[in-house]
Amino acid sequence: MFRFDRRLLLNFDWVLLLTVLLITIMGLTNLYSASHSGRMLGTPVYMKQLYFFLVGFGLILAIISIDYKVLLSWNYPFYVISILLLLFSLFFGRSVANTQRWINFGFFYLQPSEPAKLALVITLASYYYRKDTGKGFTLKELTVPILLALLPFLLIVKQPDLGTALMLLFVFVSMTLFVKLRWQTLAILATTCLSAIPIGWKFFLKPYQRQRIETFLNPEGDPLNTGYHIMQSKIAVGSGLKFGKGFMHGTQGQLDFLPERHTDFAFSVWAEEWGFFGSIILLGCYFFMILWGLNIAVTSRDKFGVLLAFGIVSLIFWQAFINLAMVMGLLPVVGMPLPLFSYGGSSLMTTMIGIGILMNIRMRRYMAGS
């Protein structure tokens, strides 16, 4: 298992690494511009992001040296640790704006909801790998994965962090649909979910979350408060025109009109300064990465690799899509970073680990059955 095969090096996924590097470089460039107006103290965020990236790169190297199949036996320990971290943050975490999302590790604030996403992907992949009979899951057979997903989901909703919780839901649904479901099961689940929406609206959503969704449905209703973020972001993106206002010359970003411009709204800064042209390049990179990731799943040597790769790709894809749709005003504002592009150590590191696993699967594609 720890023996390093020479073929591994030959099969190293340079393409994926290059794509990740490209996105990261654009992200760092963009962070440099977004944090330029100089109201932040300490190490500039682009430097911090660079450190996180380097650490993440180290993690990738570590990950690819171990066959991803060990995850089949480590999945539950990972899962339990991620749940414990979530519980810990809920009781002892640092509170930011009334949410319990962070754990202080001295040198680093961890957002345990980020690794929890990955832990769920690994756990579900393992579970489906083991249980799938090929005839489709019945509702009874789905009880365990539903509970596995529901536990972190509820803990994250409690923080509250609607964006990440929704992400767990998306990943769960994507992966469950990907393995086979029985017709009846699908029908029952769909009905339950739809009827759960009004209950969730009433009991689970905080007033500010409800307001965000209401604002999204009617943004002109309250232009200076909740709708403000969406409006300012649309202005930033739209005013970029074909080629943008130029690096560090975006007025929306530089003059502070854009909120959260180095985290969730980092893409707005990019779109404003680099225009349609630059945005398409960035979108193209993500698009390529997603398709490449799916290709990794296709070419995987075993079903576990397929499921794992698919889970990780769907995690990255939904995050990217929801974030981009949100900053372009297609979806309500939820806390959702753009993977590899937004500032944030927990998110970047989680994504890098995911990328590492993808590379791992890729490298071992020819090693099946030997």
């Binding site: 990907f178 993106v237 007025t251 003059l255 009109f257 779109a271 398709l291 079903k303 899509f321």
Partner: protein, 621 residues
């Protein structure tokens, strides 16, 4: 190890293949969603891009107005009557005040103003963006200014704004004619949509300030600033300096105006002085004056109510809006009509026993004992009512009206000021229309001596006097001499405008003028109070009855309640042989024309000729 693992987890090729088919479906889903993003991006950046560019520009560019100083107002000699001074306003920036309640409470104590007044003001600007300043209080005094400047650290959100405001150098003189400024309202904003006004700007609300707003206001300057989301200035993008407004030179002589208003102090009434050969107004005074200073920064409710309820009606411009029975000044019209229509000759003598019977009524002369035999000269000089009853009766009311109108009565003079009243010159037709009743012959007698339905404004009486003594030319009263740009370029020079001619011959007019000269200068003349030492003055007094009350018939004037006392008129001109100036004085409830109004006309005339003499001494030393 890996060998061991693969042997445990066998791969079912068929199953793997179905999974891989599903990957294709997943790819299709991903492509679909990414296509949505690309379309959206195209929509925002290409299709609607220009709209968002505008929005982003208006986000970042803050336009700051630089108010232009208003043009000065000068009198005919070039004295500046009204200039500008800086006024200090308190403005409020919501965003700068994290704890507004405490600050506003403190501010209300500093301003000695109830907190609710301040809060109401803030509520009016509820829709205002948080970074945009708006005014809380205008034109604070320097004590308050210094206090606030010294304590600005304790007053976050409170800022001081400096704006040019009107400086009434001489006080309230000519207040009605000049008018006042106040904050522009929505209706005016709509009206001046083509001009450069913003909410909060000052605009002329009355008088010259309103009429010549276009010239006085100047051109606003603009500063284009780049600001961040907090409204903090980042850099100056562009700027344009304000252009001061044009200066207006009035025909008014401020020395004469102040003399007239000072003489009228404590009295309600009007003084009008006009150059008889041009129609230029030298004095247009209505008393009591409006307190212009109180209008700066918005007049307070109490001050406004006080003006509104003042029994002397300071808000009414009595020179053009006050309509009074012309009284005996109207006898000029009756005399002209009688002479011209052949009702009498200058030598026709009528006996006045002190009363005249007409119909079954007794019409009294003001002199109960009678004037005895009077001709035109004496009738005018001593203002014999009986004489004019009979002349009026002979020519009839419609003819009287024609002559009155040819002298400018019953029609608007055409002065530029707003809300001028036309007065009334009654006719048979007028009465039928107004009261649905035919004219009674007896009413003609009242009209002939300026009573009855007759109403005229002081400006009309002055204009009539001027036309009578200048050979019959009726001028439009002129208020403005010229308009000059701040650089000194004259852009408009106003010339006299003739609007009509008096009916009747030159000879008749001369006869009347001579008789009017006697009114002031000869023994038994009613206008002796206006007599000057070196200059021969002519004129006519009038006493306009307010109400017929036999109760007060023999009461001494001082004992009659103020509102029932007669209005006092005098209208005069000088020098009588070659008239230059006509002066008309009306004192509301002043009693007898000669004694109440005469002395006021006299000081105005004195000042006029003293000025003229001084000017002559200066040019020919």
């Amino acid at each position: 190890m890996s060998r061991f693992l693969t042997s445990i987890y066998k791969i079912d090729d068929a199953e793997l293949n179905t999974l891989k088919r599903r990957i294709d479906i997943a790819s299709a889903v991903a492509i679909f969603f990414i296509a949505i993003l690309i379309v959206r991006l195209w929509y925002l950046q290409i299709h609607r891009g220009d709209d968002y560019v505008q929005l982003s520009e208006s986000n970042r560019i803050r336009v700051q107005n630089l108010n232009a100083p208003r043009g000065n107002i000068l009198d005919r000699q070039g004295h500046v009557i009204i200039a500008n001074r800086p006024s200090f306003n308190i403005v409020w920036v919501r965003e700068d005040a994290p704890n507004p309640d405490a600050v506003l409470k403190k501010l209300s104590q500093i301003l000695h103003e109830d907190i609710s007044v301040i809060l109401d003001r803030i509520r009016a600007y509820a829709d205002h963006p948080r970074y945009m300043p708006f005014r809380l209080k205008e034109d604070i005094d320097w004590r308050t200014l210094i206090y606030i400047e010294n304590h600005h650290l304790d007053l976050p959100g409170v800022h001081i704004e400096v704006l040019p405001n009107r400086d009434y150098l001489l006080g309230n003189f000519a207040s009605h004619l000049i008018g006042y400024l106040a904050e522009i309202n929505e209706r005016e904003l709509a009206k001046h949509a083509d001009a450069d006004y913003d909410l909060g700007d000052q605009v002329g609300k009355q008088g010259i300030e309103k009429l010549y707003e276009k010239y006085l206001r100047g051109e606003k300057g603009r500063k284009y600033l780049e600001v961040d989301v907090h409204g903090l200035e980042q850099k100056l993008i562009n700027s344009k300096e304000p252009l001061p407004g044009d200066d207006l030179q009035l025909t008014i002589d401020i020395d004469l105006q102040t003399t007239a208003e000072t003489a009228m102090e404590g009295k309600a009434g009007a003084v009008v002085a006009m150059e008889v050969n041009t129609g230029r107004l030298l004095v247009l005074a209505s008393t009591p004056p409006m307190h212009l200073e109180e209008f700066i920064g918005g007049i307070s409710n109490t001050a406004w109510k006080e003006m509104l309820n003042n029994p002397l009606h300071p808000l009414i411009d009595k020179t053009i809006q006050g309509q009074y029975p012309p009284g005996s000044t109207y006898k000029i019209v009756t005399a002209l009509a009688g002479l011209s229509e052949g009702a009498m000759t200058p030598d026709t003598v009528i006996y006045c026993p002190g009363h005249y019977f007409f119909g079954n009524r007794r019409y009294g002369c003001w002199k109960n004992t009678g004037h005895g035999p009077v001709n035109l000269h004496r009738a005018l000089k001593e203002s014999c009512d009986v004489y004019f009853y009979q002349i009026g009766q002979k020519v009839g009311v419609d003819t009287l009206a024609r002559y009155a109108q040819s002298l400018g009565l019953g029609i608007k003079s055409g002065i530029e000021l707003e809300h001028e009243k036309a007065g009334i010159t009654p006719t048979d037709a007028w009465k039928r229309q107004r009261f649905k009743e035919p004219w009674q012959d007896g009413e003609t007698l009242s009209v002939a001596i300026g009573q009855g339905f007759n109403l005229a404004t002081p400006l009309q009486i002055c204009r009539m006097t001027a036309a009578t003594v200048n050979g019959g030319t009726l001028y439009r009263p002129q208020l403005l001499e010229s308009i000059t740009t701040p650089e000194g370029k004259k852009i408009k020079q106003f010339e006299p405008i003739i609007t009509g001619h008096a009916l009747g011959s030159q000879t008749s007019l001369n006869l009347i003028r001579d008789a009017l000269t006697a009114v002031v200068n000869e023994q038994h003349g009613t206008g002796g109070a206006a007599r000057l030492e070196n200059i021969s003055v002519g004129g006519k007094t009038g006493t306009a009855q307010v109400i017929h009350l036999s109760k007060y018939k023999d009461t001494k004037e001082d004992a009659i309640p103020y509102q029932y006392r007669d209005h006092a008129w005098i209208t005069c001109f000088a020098p009588s042989e070659k008239p230059e100036i006509a002066v008309t004085v009306l004192v509301e409830h002043g009693g007898h024309g000669g004694s109440a109004a005469g002395p006021i006309a006299k000081v105005v005339l004195e000042e006029y000729f003293a000025q003229k003499a001084a000017a002559a001494n200066n040019t020919t030393p």
